[in-house]
């Protein structure tokens, strides 16, 4: 089982790669930077990409879209959710 720090690092790499953020990610993209809105500026299409990323990479399926909204806040909340729900 990966630690939270390892997961945050892994998620950061996956998000940058899958969402083609290489040129856009700020230097201080750490665990607390919001991924939507004024943080990374992701949008609803990216949210779907993240749902697929969770299912594909961590085997986690969101039954209720409201859950995803609470999880996709920043890297820390995503890592916490994975640690809690990964099979």
């Amino acid at each position: 089982m990966k630690s939270k720090e390892e997961l945050v690092h892994e998620l950061k790499g996956l998000i940058i790669e899958k969402l083609n953020l290489q040129d856009l990610v700020p230097a201080n993209f750490d665990g607390e930077v919001p991924i939507f809105g004024e943080g990374l500026g992701l949008d609803s299409i990216d949210a779907i990409e993240l749902v697929v990323l969770f299912e594909k990479n961590y085997g986690i399926k969101f039954q209720d879209p409201k859950d995803a909204r609470k999880v996709f806040v920043n890297l820390n909340t995503m890592a916490d959710y994975i640690l809690e729900h990964q099979k």
């Binding site: 969402l19 083609n20 953020l21 290489q22 040129d23 856009l24 500026g41 299409i45 779907i48 990409e49 697929v52 299912e55 594909k56």
Partner: protein, 355 residues
């Protein structure tokens, strides 16, 4: 369609030559040594916002760049709409998406892959980027897609003659497709100079690609390049006398062969497909002959490259040496240019451009 006047007020072209540069006119052309001619692309960040750029495929970037060049200095949101044409759509995007569907057994499919694979993605992308909320259409009709889109755009303009409309085309070379098409003999199998395409004695042609947009209207403006007549597509030209078809097209356009200053010929270097085009070149032997498929290759919507070349000849009043294929000196000024193109010999297109 009753004969009307249409004008080209702006053009953006991304092709295997450096045509995105408005100061460039085929002076130093690239000589490709292989069968596939790929587009020379600009720094996309100069034309597309980074946040938008990251989700676009290569062909979407090329198409949106061509549109950006065509609408530069205008208010695109006031335009009538956008019409696009493609022979096969985003080939690479489709390939990637279908591979994903198969590999993942139709589960966990990402939206970006789906969007990039759809045929109408460029028309939608251009409309959303420039807030063009009017007419939006896309034609996927093989080697006559661009001609069909052009006719549709002209019909739309007749209904709203005070507005401008954006009409464009895109097709990309895609290696897996090339492997399939090579079995049919449509493309050359051996390496060799693209600029010597018409000297090579083997069958087949070169595979090209391109993205192009034209800003059309029914009123000349200070940015007008030239006027553009309605296209005529002659289907299955081998069943007809193509020179008779050309003459009746010219009569419909109130002109004749002796009035044509330059012929832009779509000869592809494939003797099997070029029969009718070579007859047309022969009929216009006293006219300056320009060819272009050694510069951009053959692709479904290559007529858009031909129209760009014809419009550029008229605008610049100059025939680049790289396009000239006979010794007839061009008229000064160049007033009438005839485009005669074909796709694999299945159909021949005539378009007349004038100043």
């Amino acid at each position: 369609m009753e004969s009307k006047s249409f004008y080209i007020n702006g053009i953006g072209l991304v092709s295997p030559q450096q045509t995105f540069d408005e100061h460039y006119f085929l002076e130093d052309v690239v000589d490709y040594q292989h069968t596939v001619l790929s587009c020379i692309t600009p720094d996309f960040k100069q034309y597309i916002k980074p946040i938008q750029l990251r989700r676009l495929s290569r062909i979407q970037r090329m198409g949106l760049t061509a549109a950006a060049i065509a609408v530069k200095g205008t208010q695109p949101d006031l335009m009538l709409g956008v019409v696009t044409a493609t022979g096969e759509g985003s080939s690479a995007g489709k390939g990637a998406f279908i591979s994903e569907v198969l590999l993942q057994e139709e589960k966990q499919i990402t939206p970006t892959g789906f969007v990039q694979s759809s045929y109408n993605n460029l028309a939608g992308l251009v409309a959303m980027t420039y807030r063009m909320m009017g007419y939006n259409n896309n034609f996927v009709s093989g080697g006559v897609a661009f001609e069909t889109a052009l006719q549709d755009a002209m019909l739309q303009l007749i209904g709203s003659p005070s507005q401008e409309i954006l009409v464009g085309s895109y097709d990309e070379s895609h290696l897996p497709h090339l492997e399939l098409d090579n079995r049919t003999g449509h493309y050359k199998r051996e390496e060799g100079s693209s600029l010597l395409l018409f000297s090579r004695l083997t069958s087949g042609t070169l595979w090209g690609e391109g993205a192009c947009f034209f800003r059309l209207s029914m009123q000349a403006t200070e940015t007008t390049w030239c006027s553009l007549g309605e296209p005529l597509v002659v289907y299955r030209p081998e069943t007809l006398d193509i020179v008779d078809e050309l003459n009746s097209f010219l009569v419909d356009n109130e002109t004749d062969i002796s009035s044509i200053d330059v012929l832009v010929s779509g000869a592809s270097g494939d003797a099997n497909a070029d029969k009718q085009i070579l007859q047309i070149e022969h009929a216009l032997a006293s006219v300056t002959l320009c060819r272009f498929k050694h510069l951009c290759g053959e692709y479904f919507t290559s007529t858009s490259f031909a129209v760009w070349l014809a419009a550029s000849l008229l605008k610049r009043n100059k025939v680049p040496a790289s396009t000239c294929f006979n010794s007839v000196r061009p008229a000064h000024p160049i007033k009438k240019v005839l485009v005669a193109n074909h796709y694999r010999g299945r159909s021949v297109t005539f378009i007349l451009l004038k100043i």
